[in-house]
């Protein structure tokens, strides 16, 4: 169903009632899977991701080459990050089964593996180890790649894999797709499926709150003049996402201190938990 974007200019409100720079409701949880080395559940609007991290393990030559996951090496001679994405057939409104050889999924795996490899300090483990990140998309409502990046980041934190900073991602779009309204076009933050189908958008991944871009994916035609605005908006969104992820991690840390799993000030000395 195409989205009627013409109403945006009337009240400057989007179809779901957000303003241009508002993120959707986000929820996150760490350690949802006791048998995994690290796990996280992340919800960005109606996009729901469960991420499982296994490893670092000894590299399994037979597995890294399979189509189930795509690998990228972190930090030159460091550990390899292998990413596998499964989209549940019931994730979309109309049921749709996606095979493992789905080109779009494979491309996302490659992007994700490269982006995560840039954030992970792989040299801590050495070249013979692999970190497997498997991501399950339970519900899909736009900003899929961004949500996958954030969920993977959270799960890696849970697994205790050293990273330079949170790897965070966010999407940004532009209100109209035609050239005439260049001046009136507003950038939009964190698109949902409806908006993604109609509007040009890009996914931007940055390293924490810095403006260091780790990955950028844009698959739609967009006016070059609008690109900068979209990127700036996405980078702002990434800061918001980073704050959110940080909050989730701190909450988890507080719980761990309360439960006595970690002594206060012992490991979490740099965190301000009061």
């Amino acid at each position: 169903m195409p989205l009627d974007t013409s109403t945006y200019n009337l009240a400057l409100l989007r179809v779901d009632g957000r303003r241009w720079n508002e993120l959707r409701d986000q929820r996150g949880q760490m350690g949802v899977q006791p048998s995994a080395d690290g796990s996280a559940y992340l919800q960005m609007g109606n996009t729901k991701i469960q991420a499982i991290v296994a490893g670092p393990n000894e590299r399994d030559a037979s597995k890294t080459n399979s189509s189930a996951s795509t690998a990228a090496t972190a930090g030159g001679l460091g550990a390899t990050v292998a990413v596998g994405i499964t989209v549940a057939p019931f994730a979309t409104v109309d049921r749709k089964r996606r095979g493992r050889n789905d080109k779009r999924l494979q491309e996302m795996q490659t992007t994700l593996a490269a982006a995560l490899a840039a954030a992970v300090q792989g040299q801590a483990y050495g070249p013979r180890s692999t970190i497997h990140v498997s991501l399950h998309v339970l519900s899909q409502d736009g900003s899929l790649l961004a949500a996958l990046v954030n969920a993977a980041s959270l799960a890696l934190v849970d697994a205790g894999v050293p990273m330079t900073d949170y790897l965070v991602a966010c999407t940004a779009g532009s209100t109209s797709s035609y050239a005439a309204a260049d001046e009136a076009a507003d950038p939009l933050l964190d698109l949902n499926t409806q908006e993604e189908q109609e509007l040009p958008f890009l996914t931007l991944a940055t390293l924490g709150a810095s403006d260091k871009v780790v990955a950028m994916v844009c698959e739609s035609r967009v006016q070059l003049a609008r690109l900068e605005g979209m990127m700036a908006t996405a980078a702002d969104g990434c800061k918001g996402v980073r704050d959110f992820l940080d909050r989730v991690v701190r909450e988890k840390g507080e719980i761990m201190v309360q439960e006595g799993a970690v002594g206060r000030g012992e490991v979490v000395s740099s965190m301000d938990l009061d």
Binding site: Q33, P34, S35, A36, N46, K48, Q50, I52, A54, K63, A68, G84, T86, A88, P89, F90, A91, T92, V93, R95, R97, G99, R100, S134, H136, L138, S139
Partner: protein, 429 residues
């Protein structure tokens, strides 16, 4: 059976096997459970609002599965015989019913009545409600495995088989003569396959189906179906029993008795012991493993006319019936065998005194080269069981053992009862 490899030495396997085959007090399981005891699990339903029904179960060993059920309206292809059949339908139907009554197959009969009485439109004009196995599509996704992997395909077919075995399930998907629901069951194992995931997937599917709701039908008879927009008015695929079962027992059976989706349990045998809910370590020494699918018919409390005992017992009795039994190739087949000392070249020094003396009589050099020939025991030890030496089991389950396993699943107050009781406690949202 493609669970991750287990690192147990033949000696450990032998020890595990012998402790599990102890009979006098009870088998000793590695985690101290009794043979019929299940591990605790956490379950929730209705986790995905975008589906008709969904459930998530976490087992204590950390494996986790999510099942989502989606339904679509599909047109039923009309066969050219349909119209001929419909004119004779009334006669045919009543005939069939009486025949079934005479067979005294109470399960079938009562649940048939449920389906027919559940829809008022049907009882007015008796229509043969038929389902087709094509109306259900089930897919299993296991991380790290291809979807055409033989293990995945086997799991899929076993779960499908249980669902379709008695033909009652697909009848629930009947809308009218021209339309039906097509149900997609998508089963996803979230965690890596640490143990054989069949029971986990089956229980999660059970819960998801219990939580599945279909929009309420507003149109009548064979019109194009129209549904109520209000999700709150949607009807459960498996009709609920009233909250107070005692009220229904005094009245006649007005409410539809709750039948429930099938469950498939994994049962294994070690020696003469039957062990339920085996862990990965226990499966590695199983003599045989069997998947037993059980369905619950309408509880016998409602059909109290036929069964006078049910009035005396206040609790509802389950009406369990067997759907299918499948033997499963246990991973124990692939375990490496231990080597008895008598044939182990590196263990010549540790031979028993008698054999050592026998070996010492000829010249020492001959003893080492012709050691095996000198000991008739060695040949026997290679082919037959030696106490304390692990050997992968051969052959399938014994008939008597199969029967005992099935009986143990089905017995009143038995394991299936217990599992269903436990799942009943899960709040459906």
């Amino acid at each position: 059976m493609s669970s991750s490899t287990l690192l147990l030495s033949p000696a450990e396997l032998a020890y595990l096997h012998s402790s599990l085959s102890l009979t006098t007090p009870a088998p000793i399981r590695p985690d101290g459970r009794s043979p019929t005891q299940f591990r605790p699990l956490t379950a929730e339903t209705g986790i995905l609002p975008g589906t008709n029904g969904s459930a998530r179960i976490c087992f204590a060993d950390g494996t986790e599965a999510i099942v989502g059920v989606k339904a679509e309206v599909e047109k039923t292809p009309v066969s050219p015989y349909e119209f001929v059949a419909s004119t004779e339908g009334r006669k045919d139907h009543s005939e069939k019913k009486s025949r079934r009554k005479s067979k005294k197959a109470e399960n079938d009969e009562t649940s048939m009545d449920v389906d027919e009485d559940g829809d008022e439109a049907d009882s007015a004009a008796p229509v043969k409600m038929e389902g087709s196995p094509d109306w259900v599509e089930l897919s299993v996704e296991i991380p790290g495995l291809r979807d055409d992997d033989s293990g995945t395909v086997f799991l899929t077919s076993m779960l499908t088989e249980a669902l379709l075995a008695d033909g009652e399930f697909v009848k629930k998907l009947w809308i009218n003569r021209r339309f039906h629901w097509k149900l997609y069951l998508d089963i996803i194992l979230i965690s890596p396959p640490l143990s054989y995931p069949l029971p986990l997937l089956s229980l999660t599917t059970h819960l998801a189906l219990l939580a599945t709701r279909l929009p309420r039908l507003k149109s009548e008879a064979d019109e194009d179906p129209m549904f109520d927009d209000d999700w709150a008015a949607a009807t459960f695929l498996y009709a609920r029993q009233d909250s107070e079962p005692k009220a229904t027992s005094t009245q006649s059976t007005v409410r539809a008795p709750a039948s429930r989706p099938p469950i498939t349990l994994l049962v294994m045998a070690v020696g003469d012991n039957i062990i339920f809910d085996p862990s990965k370590e226990e499966l590695a020494v199983a003599d045989s493993a069997v998947a037993v699918s059980v369905a619950e018919g309408p509880s016998s409390l409602n059909s109290s006319e036929s069964d006078p005992d049910s009035t005396s017992t206040t609790t509802t009795k389950r009406n369990l019936h067997l759907l299918s039994v499948r033997t499963i190739d246990p991973p124990s087949r692939l375990t490496p065998p231990g080597v008895p000392n008598s044939v182990n070249a590196t263990a010549w020094g540790t031979m028993t005194a008698a054999t050592a003396a026998a070996a010492a009589t000829p010249a020492g050099s001959v003893a080492s080269t012709e050691g095996a020939a000198k000991h008739p025991d060695a040949r026997v030890d290679e082919t037959e069981d030696v106490v304390g030496v692990w050997k992968a089991p051969r052959g399938g389950a014994k008939f008597a053992m199969l029967g005992a396993m099935v009986a143990k699943v089905l017995e009143r107050g038995g394991v299936a009862d217990e599992v269903l009781d436990g799942l009943e406690g899960v709040e459906l949202t």
